[in-house]
C-alpha cells in the first residue's frame, strides 16, 4: 500500500467534517406539521375510494394492529386534518409530504367531485433544484374530502415495510421551497458519501478498465463491471441517473437499477475466480464459485422477468433467497480461504469480502445506504491494493522466469558440444603439427574453426536451417573421425521429399546424440565394423531424425563407466526433451531411444528417433 494512503484518508475525513461544520448552518425550521393517519390494507387493486367510502370501510389505527406491507397489498391511508383546519385557513396553498412510494395516488376534492392524482416515484412530479426531494403535493382547505380528510393509495414494491415508519406532514409554501431549493447539514450528510463513493468508483473503473484493455486479463474486466454495477445500484437515484438514461421512471428503468444488486454479486464471484485462479489453485472452491455464479446469473434473469412483468412480490422473495445464499456462501468461503489460502491474494479476498458483506447487511437491516457505501468503499480500496499487489507479484515472477529461461538456454547450449571434444580435436591438430603434416593440419584447423563459428552463431540463433545443421554434423563427424583415426564409418542421408533449405530445427539438437553414439556406442566396440547412420525422413507434419549405431548398446556402456563416471546422471537427454517440447509446442514425448537386440537378445546398438514438427 502506498505510504501516502493513510494521510489521504485522513485528509478526506477532515474535508468532509469541515464542510459539515462550516458551510451548513440550519437555515430555519424545515419541519412541517406531522399528521396522524389510519390505514386500510387490501389486496384488491380495483377498489376505488367511492366504494370504500360507500361501504363504510373502517380504517384502523396503526397502534392497534401490526401491519406489514407487501408489493401486492394496496394501502389506503386516511389522513385526518380536522385539528388543523384553523391553520389551513390562513393560506391558500399548503403542501403534503410523505415517504416515497413506487405507486401512489392522492385523492382530494376538486369542486364537487373527488379526483385522484398520481404522485408515486414512477410519475413525473414537479421538483426544485434539490436532488434529494420531490415536491410535496399542493392542497388547501377546499381540497379536503368531507371537510377534513385526504386519502392516499400507496404501494411499496421494493421491500417489505412497516407503516409505523411512515411519516406524513404538511408544510407551508415557504417550508416547501426551503426543502426543494436548499440543502441542510443532514442533506449533505447524505450526499457527500454518495459523491465521494462515485469518485472512488470512477477512478477504479477507469484504472481497471485501462489495465484490462492493456493486459486483456479477465479479472480486471470483471472488477470493472463489478464497480460499475455497484455504482449504479448505490448512487443511481441520488445522481438522478434514471432521468439521464430513461427520461422517465418506468418498469424498465426500475429493473435497470434493481437488477444490478444481483449483478454486483455475479461479477464479484467471477472476479474472485480469475483473481485467485481458483480453477488451478482451489479446485473445490472453484466448483462452488462456478455453481454460485450460474445461480446468480439465473437469479438476475428471473429478477428482471419478475420486475418487467410487475411480479414484485416474487422478486422480493427471490432477492431474500439470494441474500441468504450469498451470506452463507460468503461466510463459508471466507473461512475456507482463511484456512487454505496459499498466498496473500486469498487474504485480500477475505478482508475485502468481509467489509462488503458488513456493508450489505447494514443496508439490508437498517435501510441505511451509508453502511453499504462505506463497506464497498473499503472493499474497493482493499482490492485496488490487492490488484496492485497481484500485478507486482506477477512482475517479480516474470522477471524470475526470464532469468531462469535465460539460464536454461545457456545450460542447453552448454549441454551441447562437449568440451572434451573441443580440446581433444585441438590435441589432434597439435599432433598433425608435431608430425609436420602441414596440409592436413591446415585442413582440420579450418574445419574446427568452421564448427566453432557455427557454435558461436547458434548461441545467438535458437533455430537453424536443416542444411546448416547437417553441414555442422558433417564437420563434426570429420573431426571425430580424425580424432579417432578413422576407426568408424558414418553416413548422413536425407529423404528426397524433404526441403532442407526451408525446414528449421533447434540448433545443435542432434550433435549430442551423435557424440553419444560414437563415444559410448562405437568406440568401446571391439570388432572393426563400426557404423553410424544418420537419416532424416518426413511423415505427416513431422521431421524424424534417426541416429543409429551398431555399437555395444546402452546397457554395456553404462557398465563400463567407472570410479569417476558412475552415478553421474546425464542431463543432456532431459534438456533436449525440454527443448523439443518448447519447439514443438506439445508435451508429448518427442524423443525415443531404442535398444536394438538381435534374435539371441544380445545388444546390437542403439537407435535414437527425434521428432520435430515442421
Amino acid at each position: 500500500m502506498p505510504k501516502g494512503f493513510p494521510t489521504f484518508c485522513i485528509f478526506l475525513l477532515c474535508l468532509y467534517l469541515g464542510i459539515f461544520k462550516s458551510n451548513c448552518q440550519e437555515l430555519t425550521n424545515r419541519n412541517g406539521t406531522p399528521l396522524s393517519f389510519k390505514i386500510y390494507s387490501t389486496e384488491d387493486n380495483l377498489l376505488d375510494l367511492q366504494k370504500i367510502l360507500s361501504t363504510n370501510t373502517t380504517f384502523i389505527d396503526l397502534d392497534s394492529v401490526k401491519i406489514k406491507t407487501n408489493p401486492k397489498s394496496v394501502n389506503w391511508l386516511q389522513i385526518d386534518l380536522k385539528n388543523h383546519l384553523l391553520t389551513l385557513q390562513k393560506d391558500s396553498l399548503w403542501y403534503l409530504r410523505f415517504n416515497n412510494f413506487e405507486y401512489l395516488s392522492i385523492y382530494y376534492r376538486a369542486g364537487d367531485s373527488i379526483v385522484a392524482e398520481k404522485w408515486g416515484v414512477f410519475e413525473k412530479v414537479p421538483k426544485g433544484t434539490s436532488v434529494l426531494y420531490r415536491s410535496g403535493f399542493p392542497f388547501n382547505e377546499q381540497s379536503l374530502i368531507d371537510g377534513r380528510y385526504l386519502y392516499l393509495k400507496a404501494q411499496r414494491l421494493t421491500y417489505i415495510d412497516n407503516p409505523l415508519r411512515w411519516k406524513i406532514s404538511f408544510f407551508n409554501r415557504f417550508q416547501n421551497e426551503l426543502i426543494l431549493e436548499y440543502y441542510n447539514t443532514k442533506d449533505l450528510g447524505k450526499l457527500i458519501p454518495v459523491y465521494t463513493f462515485g469518485g472512488i468508483c470512477l477512478v477504479i473503473f477507469i484504472l481497471t478498465l485501462a489495465y484490462y484493455l492493456y493486459s486483456k486479463r479477465l479479472e480486471f474486466l470483471f472488477y470493472t463491471t463489478y464497480v460499475l454495477f455497484l455504482f449504479l445500484y448505490l448512487s443511481a437515484d441520488i445522481l438522478q441517473l434514471h432521468e439521464l438514461f430513461f427520461g422517465k421512471f418506468n418498469l424498465v428503468s426500475y429493473a435497470f437499477f434493481q437488477v444490478p444488486q444481483i449483478l454486483i454479486n455475479l461479477f464479484y464471484i467471477l472476479f474472485v475466480i480469475y483473481y485467485l485462479n481458483s480453477r488451478e489453485y482451489y479446485p473445490r472452491l472453484h466448483r462452488a464459485l462456478v455453481s454460485i455464479a450460474l445461480l446468480l446469473g439465473l437469479t438476475a434473469i428471473l429478477s428482471a422477468i419478475f420486475i418487467l412483468s410487475a411480479n414484485f412480490q416474487e422478486n422480493i422473495h427471490l432477492l431474500d433467497f439470494e441474500r441468504i445464499i450469498m451470506t452463507l456462501f460468503g461466510l463459508i468461503g471466507m473461512i475456507y480461504l482463511l484456512v487454505k489460502t496459499r498466498d496473500k491474494l486469498g487474504y485480500f479476498i477475505v478482508v475485502g469480502s468481509f467489509m462488503y458483506m458488513i456493508g450489505a447487511l447494514g443496508l439490508l437491516f437498517f435501510k441505511l445506504r451509508l453502511y453499504m457505501i462505506l463497506g464497498s468503499s473499503f472493499e474497493i480500496l482493499i482490492f485496488a491494493s490487492g490488484l496492485t499487489y497481484k500485478i507486482q507479484q506477477e512482475y517479480i515472477e516474470r522477471l524470475r522466469f526470464q532469468k531462469e529461461s535465460t539460464m536454461f538456454e545457456n545450460k542447453a547450449l552448454r549441454a551441447q558440444m562437449n568440451p572434451h571434444f573441443i580440446f581433444n580435436s585441438l590435441s589432434s591438430i597439435q599432433y598433425l603439427i608435431t608430425t609436420d603434416k602441414k596440409e592436413k593440419a591446415v585442413k582440420y584447423l579450418n574445419k574446427f574453426s568452421l564448427l566453432m563459428r557455427n557454435l558461436l552463431e547458434s548461441a545467438i540463433e535458437a533455430n537453424v536451417l536443416l542444411t546448416e545443421e547437417i553441414s555442422l554434423l558433417h564437420k563434426y563427424l570429420e573431426l571425430e573421425a580424425l580424432r579417432f583415426n578413422n576407426t568408424f564409418f558414418y553416413t548422413i542421408t536425407v529423404d528426397e521429399n524433404i526441403d532442407a533449405d526451408i525446414i528449421e530445427v533447434p540448433a545443435l539438437l542432434f550433435q549430442p546424440f551423435v557424440e553419444n553414439a560414437i563415444l559410448h556406442g562405437l568406440l568401446s566396440k571391439k570388432d572393426s565394423s563400426k557404423v553410424l547412420r544418420i537419416h532424416f525422413k518426413k511423415k505427416d507434419n513431422f521431421l524424424f531424425c534417426e541416429i543409429e549405431d551398431n555399437g555395444i548398446g546402452r546397457e554395456a556402456s553404462e557398465k563400463s563407466k567407472s570410479l569417476l563416471q558412475s552415478g553421474k546422471k546425464s542431463r543432456g537427454i532431459e534438456v533436449t526433451e525440454k527443448r523439443l517440447q518448447l519447439f514443438n509446442h506439445s508435451n508429448e514425448i518427442n524423443l525415443s531411444i531404442i535398444d536394438k537386440k538381435n534374435a539371441d537378445g544380445e545388444a546390437t546398438g542403439t537407435l535414437v528417433i527425434i521428432k520435430i514438427s515442421i
Binding site: 568440451p419 580440446f423 581433444n424 590435441s427 591438430i429 597439435q430 599432433y431 568401446s524 569417476l564
Partner: protein, 253 residues
C-alpha cells in the same frame, strides 16, 4: 640421469602428439611406451618400471584413477593429462598433484618434467596419491582431504579443520582449528573454486571462511564475523545478504 616415461591415452593422436613434444623439447627423458587402456597399463607398468607416467584421466575403458587404484605398488610419478578442467581435475588439485591440459602447452610440459626430476619423499608422494583416491571414492561432491604444498613440504589436512583462509598477496594463509597457520603459494581464488561447494564462502576480498565455523555475526562497526577461535573476519558490504542467507541454510541442515 635419464627419466623413463610412459604415456597412457586412449586417443592415438594425443599420445603421438605428447610423445613428439616430449622427445623434441624435453631433455633427459625417454618414452618407453605409449599405452591406450587401463588393462594395458596394468600389465605393462610393473614390467617396464617407469619413473614418470603421463596419464590421461578420461580413458575408454575407465579412468586414469582406476588404473592407479588397481596398481599395487606405485613407484613412479604421475602427471595427469586431460582435455577439460572439471571435477576430476579438482580432485587432483586437492592432492597438489601435477597435471597438464590438452592440447599440451610446451612450457607447462617442460616445467612438469623438471619438477618430476627432483627427488621426492616417496612417503609424502604416496600420501598425496592416497588422498586423491580417498577423495574420489567419497560421495560427490565433498572432497574431504586437502594436500597443501607449503615452503617446508606438503601438509595434509581435513577440510573440516580449516577455520578460514586469508589472502596475503599471491599467497594464502590457512588458519586451522588447532590454531596453526599454513602459508601456501597459491592465490585465494584457487581455493575459493576448490572449496566453493563445501560450505566455504568468500565473504571478503581477503577472506574465504568455513561457514560451519562461524561463531557470531556482529553488526556494529560496519559488520564483521567472529570465528570459533574468536578471530575477527571482515565482511564486504555487498556480501552481507548472501552470507546471512547462506548461514540460514546451514542452520537448517
Amino acid at each position: 640421469m635419464t627419466l623413463k616415461a610412459i604415456i597412457i591415452d586412449d586417443e592415438k593422436h594425443s599420445r603421438e602428439s605428447l610423445k613428439n613434444l616430449v622427445e623434441e623439447f624435453c631433455d633427459d627423458i625417454e618414452i618407453l611406451a605409449c599405452l591406450s587402456s587401463v588393462e594395458e597399463g596394468l600389465i605393462k607398468i610393473p614390467r617396464l618400471n617407469p619413473d614418470i607416467i603421463f596419464l590421461d584421466i578420461e580413458l575408454q575403458s575407465g579412468t586414469g584413477f582406476d588404473l592407479l587404484d588397481q596398481l599395487e605398488n606405485i613407484s613412479f610419478e604421475v602427471i595427469f593429462t586431460t582435455a577439460f578442467e572439471q571435477y576430476a581435475i579438482k580432485a587432483v588439485k586437492f592432492s597438489s598433484l601435477d597435471y597438464l591440459l590438452k592440447p599440451i602447452d610446451l612450457e607447462e610440459l617442460q616445467k612438469s618434467v623438471e619438477k618430476a626430476k627432483k627427488i621426492k619423499d616417496r612417503n609424502v608422494y604416496s600420501k598425496q596419491l592416497e588422498i586423491l583416491l580417498f577423495n574420489l571414492k567419497q560421495h560427490q561432491p565433498s572432497l574431504n582431504k586437502l594436500c597443501l604444498s607449503t615452503a617446508d613440504g606438503f601438509e595434509f589436512i581435513e577440510v573440516e579443520e580449516i577455520l578460514y583462509c586469508k589472502a596475503e598477496g599471491s599467497y594464502t594463509t590457512f588458519k586451522l582449528k588447532n590454531n596453526t597457520s599454513l602459508m601456501v603459494s597459491k592465490h585465494l581464488k584457487e581455493y575459493e573454486n576448490l572449496l566453493a561447494d563445501q560450505n566455504f564462502m568468500r565473504v571478503h576480498n581477503s577472506f574465504l571462511i568455513n561457514l560451519k565455523e562461524v561463531k557470531k555475526y556482529i553488526k556494529s562497526d560496519g559488520g564483521y564475523i567472529l570465528m570459533n577461535n574468536n578471530d575477527p573476519v571482515s565482511i564486504s558490504r555487498n556480501k552481507k545478504d548472501q552470507f546471512l542467507d547462506a548461514m540460514n541454510l546451514i542452520m537448517k541442515l
